[in-house]
């Protein structure tokens, strides 16, 4: 045990003495979370729009103020009839132009019908779609509630839409689980594999293996610091998510941490496996980045929905551990489900951990012989 504590001390010294490692471990998670949460935000917020109001009556004014007070839009420009709408777009000042037809209020009250046109800048198709959806939602809602209550329209079907588990459609709800998977993968798998292959590269691994330390002690000694640091990171990410971005934890916190622990174990065993293959730090880093980070970002459903992928990639995504982990934490945090609903994903992660450990032991033995 004394040997082991000495080993841990040495490992922590390695970590604390290397500025790059320190940055990756302590700064990177926070920076990434803030970046994804605040800057790279796919939510619509304060999009500049222009209004072309040909009626200037109470209703159009009220609709305009509803749009602006929704928080999604800010009034960038008021256009006059005859202004060149395209010119406004070309200048790039606004994302959408709302045009009210003439005699808006009157025709609405008379016929139950009025004209409003939404012109959106579809050079960014996603944003254009979201903007027009939001705007028509707000307009319809207003008209229905305020104006059409007295009018009896035949056979009208009102669809009521509710976005469950994330009513505000906040993308940060998606980023927190995704980032957690990514950062834990990075620190656990990449840093472990680099730190073990560093000993190989410098020749100190041979000295350790020729010492009375058992191989299992060496591996545990290398892995334990990263297990602790990853766990701290998982807590930090959850804390920032909850406190700064208001992501809820509806399920059990203990269960959430237990699943995070499982995922960290999986990533650590993957890191050990990589280090048994990689002869030096460079190779270890390359394998980690190419084989772990890119698929984690692209194929785990973190950035792009798995359902929209071509089928070969969909099949491949099954082999991506973060895919299962993201499902698990989303379930726990957003839906508040327990083990009953994520046992399948949990088993898959356990199975992967087992496979990585078995392969590592096999590789390690071959290398020794």
């Amino acid at each position: 045990m004394k040997q082991f504590i000495g080993f841990l001390k040495k490992e922590f010294l390695h970590i604390f003495r290397d500025p790059r490692t320190m940055m990756i471990i302590f700064l990177l998670p926070i920076v990434q979370l803030l970046l994804f949460g605040k800057v790279i935000n796919t939510d619509i917020q304060n999009s500049r729009i222009a209004i072309l109001d040909q009626s200037h009556d109470n209703t159009t004014r009220e609709i305009t103020s509803k749009l602006v007070s929704s928080g999604y839009f800010v009034l960038g420009e008021e256009l006059m009839p005859g202004d060149d709408v395209e010119d406004v777009f070309r200048k790039g000042k606004v994302k959408m132009v709302v045009t009210f037809g003439p005699e808006f209020e009157k025709s609405l009250e008379r016929d139950g019908k009025a004209e409003v046109q939404l012109l959106a800048d579809a050079s960014d198709p996603n944003t254009a779609r979201i903007l027009t959806n939001y705007a028509s939602g707000i307009i319809n809602d207003y008209v229905k509630k305020e104006k059409l209550q007295n009018l009896q329209l035949p056979n009208q079907i009102n669809t009521e839409v509710r976005m469950l588990y994330n009513e505000g459609l906040k993308s940060v709800y998606m980023f927190v689980p995704g980032l957690m998977a990514m950062i834990l993968m990075l620190i656990s798998a990449m840093m472990t594999s680099i730190s073990i292959s560093k000993e190989k590269e410098l020749g100190t691994m041979e000295v350790l293996l020729a010492s009375p330390l058992k191989p299992i002690q060496i591996v545990l000694g290398k892995v334990t610091p990263y297990l602790l640091l990853s766990f701290i990171n998982a807590l930090t990410i959850i804390l920032i998510g909850v406190l700064l971005f208001g992501v809820p934890i509806k399920g059990s916190f203990v269960f959430l941490m237990a699943e995070s622990f499982l995922f960290i174990m999986m990533a650590l065993s993957l890191g050990i496996l990589i280090s048994t293959i990689a002869p030096n730090q460079m190779v270890a880093m390359f394998i980690s980045l190419l084989a772990l980070m890119l698929p984690t970002v692209l194929l785990s459903g973190f950035m792009f929905p798995i359902e929209n992928m071509p089928w070969p990639l969909q099949i491949l995504s099954h082999a991506m551990p973060p895919r299962w982990f993201i499902v698990i934490i989303k379930n726990i945090m957003l839906k508040g489900t327990g083990i009953l609903f994520v046992w399948k994903e949990t088993l898959i992660l356990m199975f992967m951990t087992f496979v990585f450990i078995a392969l590592s032991i096999k590789n390690f033995k071959i290398r020794l012989e």
């Binding site: 004394k2 040997q3 040495k10 390695h14 020749g203 100190t204 041979e206 020729a210 020794l368």
Partner: protein, 263 residues
């Protein structure tokens, strides 16, 4: 009898070389190591006696590092028997490891730790008590003249110092045998000579030194040398006897003649 370079340092070999009079600390019988169809060690047989400096020579790829790794427990042989420090390398690997020291080619200290931290770490690995460690560390640093470097990072020291320290750390726990795998790569002859002074001191203390090298001047410093070629030991004797046997002026010639004979 060997009257080689030992006069230079005032070192006298403690054992009659090769005569089998001393205590055997390494015995190797019919040791074979194959990698697939490639035979790295082809039926090696030799003994090493306590306190001697045993040189393990050969060209790159001759199989000397492989054999050394087997004796250190870093690799397991395909067949054959070997005992190191009296323990069987198959069954008593742990005991073997407690009784040996090892220094690899890429001298083996942590660059980002200080001298004292390296010593503390390796003392911990070999179970040396903190009190013993302090005492030995002070003596060691004083002997090497490195007291001022105690809290310097290894990475900031010149290569010659690093190698001396690495060797001193490898024998810090007073092993019966120390294995040195090409310990003096990349340094000038003067630094190399100084390094060998440390090796003689260790041998004086009764530590057996098993050293691989491809520097022929170093071969002259050994009590006995074995010369390997293509996985086989082609010659094993004192440098003096080998030079007589091959009527050569120096070990370099001996080595070339053996290599030619084999071809």
């Amino acid at each position: 009898m060997s009257k080689n370079k030992s006069q230079d340092t005032g070192f006298l070999p403690p054992l009659s070389e090769g005569a089998g009079g001393g205590l055997k600390v390494i015995t190797v019988r019919n040791l074979v190591k194959k990698f697939g169809s490639f035979v790295a060690n082809d039926h090696l047989n030799f003994d090493v006696y306590q306190g001697e400096i045993f040189g393990f020579l050969g060209a790159n790829g001759a199989g000397k590092t492989t054999a050394m790794k087997i004796l250190c427990g870093l690799s397991s042989p395909t067949s054959g028997e070997a005992k190191v420090a009296g323990f069987d390398i198959y069954k008593e690997t742990e005991k073997v490891k407690r009784n040996i020291g090892y220094m690899s080619q890429k001298f083996s200290l942590y660059e980002d730790l200080t001298v004292a931290e390296n010593i503390r770490f390796f003392s911990g690995v070999y179970g040396i008590s903190p009190a013993d460690r302090k005492e030995k560390q002070d003596k060691l640093l004083k002997d090497l003249g490195l007291e001022s470097a105690k809290d310097s990072l290894i990475g900031s020291l010149p290569l010659g110092w690093k190698q001396k320290l690495a060797f001193s750390v490898a024998i810090f726990h007073d092993p019966k045998i120390v294995f040195l795998d090409e310990p003096t790569g990349g340094v000038d002859p003067i630094t190399r000579r100084k390094f060998w002074d440390l090796i003689y001191e260790a041998a004086d203390r009764g530590i057996t030194v098993f050293v691989t090298t491809h520097y022929m001047d170093e071969a002259e410093y050994c009590n006995r040398v074995s010369i390997m070629n293509a996985g086989r030991i082609e010659a094993l004797d004192t440098p003096e006897n080998l030079k007589k046997q091959y009527s050569a002026k120096n070990m370099d010639e001996v080595f070339l003649k053996i290599a030619r004979n084999v071809e």
